[in-house]
């Protein structure tokens, strides 16, 4: 079915809320999902694949970093999906860089599922003059205020390469000065910024095509945030009246 970006945001926000994501985390995750889907990247499929884990009691619990040097820290996600903490991790990375004398912050995240969800959060925080590298498996994304370069292993369609679920080891590095990152040996150019922009424009023009079954799964979970209707709520909850009066 064709859906709008608004609908993707809303269903993801509600599904995450329905799974127990706190206010703020649900919105981060939904914004990331719609950012990806609108650009032809597999946000919904990754989210759907993580629904069971996101239903675990500790899926949205806090994370305690281990400092591993000046400007460097490690997190163990313990199998948690990135959608549960994309903004928190990237904000922490920026803090590491701000505190580091050389302006460089590094964050290593172990056992993290669906790291593609870090990409939208990373794009959102990179300011003019800074740069951020996000890497996992055979993927490296270099983000600057004026552009995005993604590299993937050769021979794979890029939605598949970027949509690897893991768990995976993820490395994030933030540079307060935009040192051009060197290409990663062995990786080939992935989707270009122009391709992602084209996909975004197409999604605005035509809507986003989503899998019906996946949408239904998300809808079922999203419905958990609604309060069942009752006669009392109908009358007291929103007022009423005779439209013929």
């Amino acid at each position: 079915m064709q859906v709008s970006q608004f609908e993707i945001y809303r269903i993801c926000q509600r599904a995450l809320e329905g799974l127990g994501a706190p206010y703020g985390i649900d919105r981060d995750g939904a914004a990331a999902a719609v950012w990806l889907e609108a650009r032809g990247l597999p946000g919904l499929a990754l989210l759907a694949g993580d629904l069971e884990r996101l239903g675990n009691p500790n899926a949205f619990a806090g994370l305690t970093p281990r400092m591993s040097g000046t400007g460097s820290a490690e997190l163990d996600a313990d199998g948690r999906p990135a959608v549960a903490f994309p903004g928190a991790a990237v904000d922490f990375l920026v803090l590491l860089a701000l505190r580091s004398p050389d302006g460089r912050g590094q964050l290593a995240i172990e056992h993290c599922r669906s790291p593609l969800f870090f990409l939208p959060a990373a794009v959102a925080v990179v300011s003019a003059g800074a740069s951020l590298r996000l890497a996992w498996g055979d993927v490296a994304a270099d983000i600057r205020a004026d552009g995005l370069r993604i590299q993937i292993a050769s021979g794979q369609p890029w939605p598949m390469a970027l949509g690897e679920a893991g768990p995976l080891a993820v490395k994030l590095a933030y540079y307060r000065s935009a040192t051009p990152a060197a290409p990663v040996p062995g990786l080939k150019p992935g989707p270009t910024e122009a391709q992602l922009t084209l996909a975004y424009d197409r999604s605005l023009q035509e809507g986003v095509n989503v899998d019906d079954g996946l949408w239904q799964r998300l809808s079922t979970i999203a419905a958990r945030v609604q309060v069942p209707a009752s006669e009392v709520s109908r009358i007291r909850g929103a007022g009423g009246g005779d439209a013929n009066a």
């Binding site: 706190p22 803090l95 709520s233 009246g241």
Partner: protein, 579 residues
């Protein structure tokens, strides 16, 4: 002046204003209160007003491309709209509706008429698809080319009366027309991607619309035109030889009704940057006029004319709601007394800063209804000072974390910018009386009583004061040594605070972004928030049906399509229709 944001929207920038203007901005502790927001009136910056100006200025062309109604008035009608940035189409479908199926509630499933605004020209295939989907409204699916979806019911009080009069060859009784104010009443106007409609970003990208709710207000305006065409058709079919069309005078007296429930209140809380810009534009407009240093030729006379018209307007504002009726009575008395005073002492408006003196006097002597009406009138006096502010009402709505802020700084920020949130005793059940939630019934936003209704565990995060105070309390409980930690460290370990903390950091510098009252308390009257938002849209004749929903009128007094662009087309605020 205004400053542009990244996405091209602009935000009012009081810091760029002269100090004399900045000093006259009313503080948020005065403006952002339930009672004050609930006394707002439309201004010339309201969305309906700015749309009418824009359509006239840019010479938008409207063509009735297709009119197909049967003898009973059921069928379809298509308008095409040529704008400098592209073409739009507006289709309306008129269908049979039994009286027992007619309800103002969102949970209704059938309506007298359904409408869609689309980009480009509507082909037969799209029309056929919309004919099937639009009458089902929320149950239908729409394409990205479709921008706005709406529906309306005929006014049972007026529609048949007017049709009968026209069919009999005469205009309807003007007093009755003015009293009801519309032939059709909308109950929802959807945009921004709902049910598959085009996303807001699509609207901005196409460039036809550039202001919030501009597409929705255009749809409402065209529903008014649809209602004119429909009733004239019905009258003609009843009496082909003798029926008369609506006179311009009658058309002017007819707007479009609207019934609005609780959904508008959560919107204001959920879109705080947008809300800030709406209020800031209004307050900045008022401050600019208040800062006019000397009386200007003709302005006192013009104010007198506007005041006279407003007095007439208020005399034609009726409601069965006791609270609002009492307020209207006081308002009428206060405006009449002001007119008498100005006639006795015309020099009151011939001193330095005349409009500042008037508003300052009103703030101490008059009811909030009267103060806010006078604010709207003085804003009307100086289009050249204020009209650019209509373009500052958009916002990107992005909120950002400042990761390096220390918890001590955050705590101080709450005490400075959210001081209004801290005093209530939230352990007192009265301060947490209500909870906002989404009903499973058509997703309707509702307000429950926390200690007497189920569902509070699914509460929407709309108790901003309570959440800010809770974060402050959590910070206060930390040892002093822990307050050196940064926000990013805190949020990594305490994700439950992410939403409210980001909100506080993002909004602290936006004075009009937060309602500075407790939206959970038993003192919260949602009708005040509805009134605020509707006034910004351009609504008038507020007719509350409870403290949770209201009827209003849009575009009563507005020029018709044929009158757009005429020299006085913009002069329709607070319309009065002499008998």
């Amino acid at each position: 002046m205004t400053k542009r944001t990244q996405d091209g929207a602009a935000s009012p920038g009081p810091t760029a204003e002269p100090a004399a203007v900045q000093a006259l901005m009313r503080p948020p502790d005065v403006v952002m209160r339930f009672a004050r927001l609930g006394a707002f009136h439309a201004t010339r910056l309201s969305f309906g007003r700015s749309l009418i100006r824009r359509m006239g200025r840019e010479n938008w062309r409207f063509t009735r491309r297709l009119v197909e109604f049967d003898d009973r008035g059921f069928g379809r009608m298509v308008h095409e709209i040529e704008t400098p940035k592209g073409r739009l189409s507006f289709v309306g479908f008129s269908n049979y509706l039994a009286d027992e199926d007619r309800t103002d509630r969102v949970i209704a499933e059938k309506w007298d008429a359904a409408f869609a605004l689309s980009a480009g020209r509507l082909g037969e295939a799209a029309l056929a698809r919309l004919a099937e989907a639009a009458p089902r409204q929320e149950a239908g699916r729409y394409a990205a080319d479709e921008l706005v979806l709406s529906r309306a019911n005929k006014s049972v009080r007026l529609f048949e009366t007017v049709a009968a009069a026209l069919a009999a060859g005469r205009q309807p009784d003007l007093a009755e027309v003015v009293r009801v104010g519309y032939l059709m009443r909308t109950t929802a106007v959807y945009g921004n991607g709902k049910f598959g409609l085009g996303d807001l970003a699509r609207l901005w990208r196409d460039g036809i619309f550039s202001l919030p709710y501009e597409a929705e207000m255009l749809s409402v305006y065209l529903i008014r035109e649809f209602s004119f065409a429909l009733i004239e058709h019905i009258a003609r079919r009843r009496n082909p030889a003798g029926a008369v069309p609506l006179s311009v005078k009658t058309k002017r007296a007819l707007g479009i009704g609207n019934a609005t429930g609780l959904g508008m209140a959560p919107f204001l809380i959920g879109h705080p940057k947008l809300f800030n810009n709406w209020i800031a534009a209004r307050e900045l407009a008022l401050a600019r006029v208040r800062a006019v240093p000397e009386p200007m030729p003709g302005k006192a006379k013009r104010f007198g004319q506007l005041l006279d018209r407003a007095i007439g307007h208020v005399s034609q504002w009726t409601t069965d709601d006791e609270r609002q009726a009492a307020r209207i009575t006081v308002l009428a008395e206060e405006l009449a007394a002001l007119r008498d005073r100005l006639q006795r002492v015309p020099s009151l408006l011939e001193r330095p800063r005349p409009w500042d003196a008037l508003i300052a006097w009103a703030e101490t002597e008059l009811s909030p209804e009267a103060v806010e009406l006078l604010a709207s009138l003085v804003i009307e006096l100086h289009p050249e000072l204020v009209d650019d502010l209509a373009y500052s009402t958009g916002s990107d709505e992005k909120e950002r974390i400042d990761p390096a802020m220390s918890l001590a700084e955050l705590k101080a920020l709450i005490e400075r910018a959210y001081d209004w949130a801290l005093p209530p005793d939230y352990d007192n059940p009265k301060e947490r009386h209500f909870f906002w939630y989404r009903s499973a019934e058509k997703d309707e936003p509702r307000l429950g009583e926390r200690f007497g209704e189920p569902g509070a565990e699914l509460e929407l995060p709309l108790g901003i004061g309570f959440m800010a105070a809770s974060l402050h309390r959590a910070l206060t409980r930390l040892p002093q040594t822990a307050l050196v930690a940064s926000v990013a460290e805190f949020l990594l370990e305490n994700p439950q605070w992410r939403g409210i903390l980001r909100r506080i950091q993002s909004l602290a510098h936006l004075p009009y972004s937060e309602i500075r009252d407790n939206t959970l308390s038993d003192r919260c009257l949602p009708i005040d928030l509805l009134r605020c938002k509707l006034s910004i849209f351009g609504a008038a004749k507020f007719d509350p049906k409870s403290d949770r929903w209201t009827r209003i009128t849009f575009f009563q007094g507005a020029p018709t399509l044929e009158e757009l662009g005429e020299p006085d087309a913009d002069d329709w605020g607070f319309p009065y229709f002499p008998p």
